[in-house]
Symmetry: C2
Subunit: 365 residues, 2 copies
């Protein structure tokens, strides 16, 4: 199984440079590496020294790079959906809309990117997939899709089951969702069916995060705004279940304050990027993928009937907890996370919660 | 009517600093200014010197600032949608879902932000609204919503009219769309109805762009990647119909090459930001809102049966043109734009197209 690595931090702190250096380092160590760039501009190819392409191109032995283009990805997915529709329906209606017409709406970039990463992840052609995304909340929204979208499906299924709408929903929700997520299209109801390919895909996505197969690094400089952004993104990453493996401190020596800010993560100082000589930067990088001990986002301590959620970088006042039936909702840093209580705890209520040293501890009565 | 100003460029080139300096300058000139920050991190408040708030707070006379929080915006919109549903339906079903539960999916940030900006724009409480967004393609996707979403509604209406689906669509599409766009919810079909509030809202959004009430500035440093990114975003902005008023060149003297790269835009050199003294930066800024001559994105020359589309920063090979019935689709820079032929040209075909000096000239036979 591949590992997915991404970099979070304020713009201009050296995320793309760190991503490339990591790719070079891991490739030299013998791992097959794919670097995926979200930025669709030709500018993305400048530090790589190539004209970016939509398909993986070899940069050096074991190291391939590609650039995402949402308009093209959407077009291709749409044609596949139409193909599938024509297999299921005698009078397909989507054939009148052409993939080349479809404009890109907000959110499609992240959905199409996640889907493309998933394809490479499942292909097992690469040991490590490095995703050089926009590096902020949008990247976290992307990795949050499996959990949050599953929740919407589940919750709205329950609601709509009480009305007549659910059966009539499928014809529309299915093709559009399928195009964006590029999953198999069937005329069956997506929401109720555990064997449905879309439902399965979302479960796979959640599993990848839960098993720690997706890892983020924080990137910062000594600039206070960059440090504050990195701290915020750390907590926000935990909120979507994305583990953070360490901090890359660019172009400066880390201080005790910085180390304390990001404890228990290791802060690694990196030298300034020199386009003619990557080696000092590569040599300064930490291990990156092996033996990385990223604190778990969520832990269920069954014996104590406790849920421990690691939410670094937030204050007590930033964290909100609510319960609706079998789910608790944690709100922090412009993210909401719904956690379903484990089966033995169903029907129980939250009896206590405390926030201390970055951990939210919820007790279920 | 307010003017909306935004800044585009690579991360770390000084977009937020430029946005704040612009706000300070215009406020000093007597304009009522609202600065809206997309970044939900506390870091966003550092250069402003305040703890960011969700409601406008006064920074200095005439200058208020606020920070968007998607989780909160979504919650508020959802409660309004439920309220409206209960007025229309005898057995409302959405009341079982609470706004505090709703997670934020990709795309919601931009949709909720556009809606909030629209509210302030229509309130006429401010002369200038400065939107400090993520500054890249996501900001352009946001401003592209009115045109592209209108297209989806129109195109899929036509398709679904031939099936039985369209009438059964409304119950689902309506509440979710309404929550994100915060528009009035009615159980009527959204797509066919010109008087529908959502349709009207999208028309208003298109009009704001077409009338030049939304203006972007490119921000760059001398770094080649930053320059290439700014050029790419220039063309991409034109693709969504967003006019670009000029270039802010941060922390360096512009060169003849830079001037040529961005011609016919004016390139203004800005001094390095000093958190203790904003004045040199403010003094160096160009006029910003008055007498700005942003090249039009699209021009219809009726007498010559020509459409002129300004697409700077692209090569001929980057631009694709296709026609489907009464619409032509222009693809460039990870964006697709569908342009409906003016009524007198309906039924005509594209007979020629050339791309020269950044202009795409399409002739309709």
């Amino acid at each position: 199984m591949s590992l997915i690595v991404t970099f979070l931090g304020k713009g201009g702190t050296g995320r793309t440079i760190s991503a490339i250096a990591t790719a070079k380092k891991l490739a030299t160590e013998g791992k097959k590496v794919l670097l995926v760039g979200q930025d669709s501009s030709p500018a993305w190819g400048i530090p790589l020294g190539v004209t970016p392409t939509a398909k993986p191109q070899e940069i050096s032995p074991n190291f391939a790079a590609m650039q995402l283009n949402s308009a093209v990805l959407l077009e291709n997915s749409w044609e596949e959906v139409k193909e599938m529709e024509s297999q299921y329906l005698r009078s397909p209606i989507l054939k009148q809309v052409y993939g080349q017409e479809l404009g890109v709406l907000p959110g499609m970039d992240q959905s199409l990117a996640l889907n493309k990463i998933r394809e490479y992840y499942q292909s097992n052609n690469y040991d490590v997939i490095i995703y050089d995304g926009t590096g902020g909340i949008d990247t976290l929204r992307m990795f949050g899709i499996p959990e949050i979208l599953s929740w919407y499906f589940r919750r709205f299924r329950d609601v709509f089951e009480e009305s007549d709408v659910v059966k009539t929903l499928a014809p529309f929700v299915q093709p559009v969702t399928s195009a964006i997520l590029n999953s198999a299209w069937t005329p069956n109801d997506i929401t109720g069916d555990k064997d449905n390919p879309t439902a399965q895909m979302l479960e796979d996505g959640k599993a990848a995060l839960n098993k720690g197969n997706v890892l983020a690094y924080l990137v910062t400089t000594s600039d206070p705004t960059a440090v504050a952004t990195a701290k915020y993104l750390w907590g926000s990453a935990q909120q979507v279940g994305l583990g953070v493996g360490g901090v890359l401190f660019n172009q400066g020596e880390s201080t005790d304050t910085i180390a304390a800010d990001f404890s228990p993560l290791t802060v690694t100082s990196l030298p300034k990027y020199d386009s003619d000589n990557w080696q000092p930067l590569i040599d300064a990088l930490p291990t990156m993928v092996e033996g990385v001990d990223a604190p778990k986002a969520t832990e269920f301590i069954m014996a104590e009937r406790k849920i421990k959620v690691f939410l670094p970088g937030f204050d007590k006042k930033d964290v909100k907890l609510t319960q609706y039936g079998p789910e608790i909702t944690i709100e922090a840093g412009d993210q909401r996370r719904n956690i379903i209580l484990p089966t033995p705890w169903r029907g129980s209520s939250v009896t206590g919660a405390k926030f201390q040293n970055g951990y939210l501890e919820v007790t279920v009565g």
